[in-house]
């Protein structure tokens, strides 16, 4: 079903063992986006190189990858804007090549940078999209998405006069106006301020229940927060297909414990470094250590037991950061 090229991540246990805040994936949920062997070449450049994956109802799939990895091209192929050189895409059961209009009816798409007709008002633009999409009750549909995306205050303003955050929301509103089953969002939070980001992320999370959402981003934090599945792609290939929580367990610093002591304690340092489960021991300063456990297992309890008589000023357990893993995986490919 899924193509992964990096051996290290193929045999990982299923997501459920990772715990955390992972949204459960219903095992029998209907497949809404089926991508098979999709390829697109520009001359010698393989923008998308034989990717395959399936996204089901309720899924929020994060498309991760460095700039130029093929994320946007893959999304343009799935939405039917580009024609693939090889492979197929089925959206809600309709082939995007042979039943293009039916498939496009099922998709809401926010292209990169949220393009819109600047000389139109927000409602005028939404009206156009609704009519072009054959929405039967245009006004209620507009009112609904305007409320959902918080556009009430600017709905009669011309789009070109809006701030970046509002423009992005207009892009989201047009993608949602026909209540699509499949939402494809190309960098929906790129360039937004932290408040706007949080608002858009919350909106996306709330939408996911009866839809399937594919979003691309290079903000790893976003994937952690809202996606229940992450695809890392680089040079047109899928390198990893996993859950964000599980990915974090693969990060080099997963479950690393950082201890800060009130005063230097060489005795404790020796004891910790000698433990069988201690893969690496770093003495950052005479009063602070980093302990790397074997296999990224959580050894916090043992460490605290060993240090119970030592006055500590701070203890930090690292969950693992996706960006380190991301760099680790994608740099290996581009070199």
């Amino acid at each position: 079903m899924t193509e992964t090229t990096d051996e290290a991540f193929v045999d990982d246990p299923p997501a459920s063992s990772a715990g955390g805040t992972a949204k459960p994936v219903a095992p029998l949920a209907e497949a809404l986006v089926e991508v098979q062997g999709l390829s697109k070449h520009y001359g010698p450049i393989r923008a998308v190189d034989g990717i395959s994956f399936t996204v089901r109802r309720g899924d929020i799939l994060g498309f991760l990858g460095p700039n130029g990895a093929g994320k946007t091209t893959a999304m343009r192929l799935i939405t039917g804007f580009l024609t693939p050189d090889a492979g197929t895409v089925r959206v809600a059961g309709h082939d995007i090549a042979t039943e293009s209009l039916l498939a496009r009816h099922k998709v809401g798409y926010l292209p990169e940078n949220a393009p819109a007709y600047g000389e139109m008002t927000v409602t005028g633009f939404l009206e156009f999209i609704a009519e072009a999409r054959g929405v039967t009750e245009v006004d209620p549909a507009i009112r609904k998405v305007v409320a959902m995306t918080g556009l009430e205050r600017v709905q009669h303003q011309m789009i070109e006069t809006l701030s970046k955050g509002f423009k992005r929301r207009v892009g989201l509103a047009q993608a949602l106006i026909h209540d699509p089953e499949v939402l494809i969002l190309d960098e929906p939070t790129d360039g937004l301020d932290p408040n706007q980001k949080a608002m858009v992320q919350e909106l996306i999370s709330n939408l996911s229940r009866n839809k399937c959402i594919i979003l691309s981003t290079h903000i790893l934090d976003e994937v952690e927060r809202i996606c229940n599945r992450a695809l890392i792609i680089s040079q047109g290939k899928i390198l990893v297909d996993s859950t964000p929580q599980e990915l974090m367990t693969q990060a080099p610093n997963h479950n690393v414990v950082r201890l800060s002591l009130e005063s230097p304690n060489p005795q404790l340092a020796r004891t910790l470094a000698a433990q069988a489960w201690c893969k690496r021991f770093d003495e950052l300063t005479p009063t602070s250590f980093e302990v790397f456990p074997v296999d990224g297992e959580n050894r916090l309890a043992e460490i605290l037991a060993l240090a119970k008589d030592v006055p500590l000023s701070a203890v930090h357990l690292d969950e693992g950061r996706l960006d380190e893993l991301f760099r680790h995986i994608t740099e290996g490919v581009s070199r």
Partner: protein
């Protein structure tokens, strides 16, 4: 689920595209600027002592107006056409448009019809001239009607030519210059001087072919009050040809 009525004909969405585009001419200064320039230039050329001499001739005829319309349009129509696709591609809205359930044909024709309707509206605003002619005497209404029809068909051809170049480039200025150049070429091949030259160099047969391909010739026939089937077929076929070329071009360039 979704409250849409999926329909999937070839022209699905054409109405929405037409409406948006037509309204667009009036929601930016461009439309008004076009109308003012069109009316001022065509009016001046008609009335001027050096060109149309409408007042001096004192005839109940719109001939002075129709004579200069091809030259006014050759500049102004590419200005209407230039933004139709170049702007969509430059701002990226083309990606939005072609991921809507709208076919390429529908959006192309929707835009063409919107531009054409706008040009028809501008022509309609020259009505005071007709009123003036009516005051001067007893005009031949048939000639006026076929003349206006000729103007409309000519505008359609220029628009289709301009749209092709708008589909080929993201730069509106380039689209405008190429559109104007191409329109000028197809206009001047029909001028008597050009035809004479062609006849001299390539023979009478080439002269005939060029004459039949000339917009100026067919347009002149219509302004004389003759409504020939050949002219109508010429205008429709020529416009359709440019439109089809434009669609093929756009299909290749839309994602570039």
């Amino acid at each position: 689920m979704s409250n849409t009525a999926p329909s999937h004909g070839r022209f699905t969405g054409m109405k929405a595209v037409f409406k948006r585009e037509f309204k667009g001419y009036f929601s930016s200064p461009l439309g008004y600027i076009f109308i003012v320039i069109f009316l001022v230039t065509s009016g001046w050329l008609t009335l001027s002592r050096d060109f149309g001499r409408f007042l001096e001739l004192r005839q109940a005829s719109l001939d002075p107006f129709f004579t200069y319309i091809p030259w006014v349009f050759v500049i102004l129509v590419p200005a209407v056409a230039m933004r139709l696709w170049a702007e969509e591609r430059k701002t990226g809205t083309v990606e939005l448009l072609f991921t809507l359930p709208v076919t390429l044909e529908a959006s192309y024709l929707g835009k063409f019809l919107a531009g054409w309707s706008f040009l028809a509206f501008s022509l309609l605003l020259s009505a005071p001239l007709v009123w003036q002619v009516e005051r001067l005497g007893n005009p031949d209404w048939g000639v006026i009607l076929t003349g206006y029809l000729g103007c409309l068909l000519l505008a359609g051809v220029y628009l289709a030519i301009g749209m092709l170049f708008s589909a080929l480039t993201q730069n509106q200025v380039v689209a405008f210059i190429l559109g104007t150049a191409a329109s000028v070429v197809f206009l001047i091949v029909g001028l008597p001087e050009t035809l004479e030259g062609i006849g001299r160099w390539f023979g009478g047969y080439a002269e005939q072919v060029m004459a039949s391909l000339s917009m100026a010739d067919h347009f002149a026939t219509m302004t004389r009050g003759l409504l020939e089937l050949g002219s109508l077929v010429f205008f429709f076929a020529f416009t359709a040809g440019w439109l089809i070329c434009g669609m093929l071009a756009l299909d290749r360039t839309k994602a570039a």
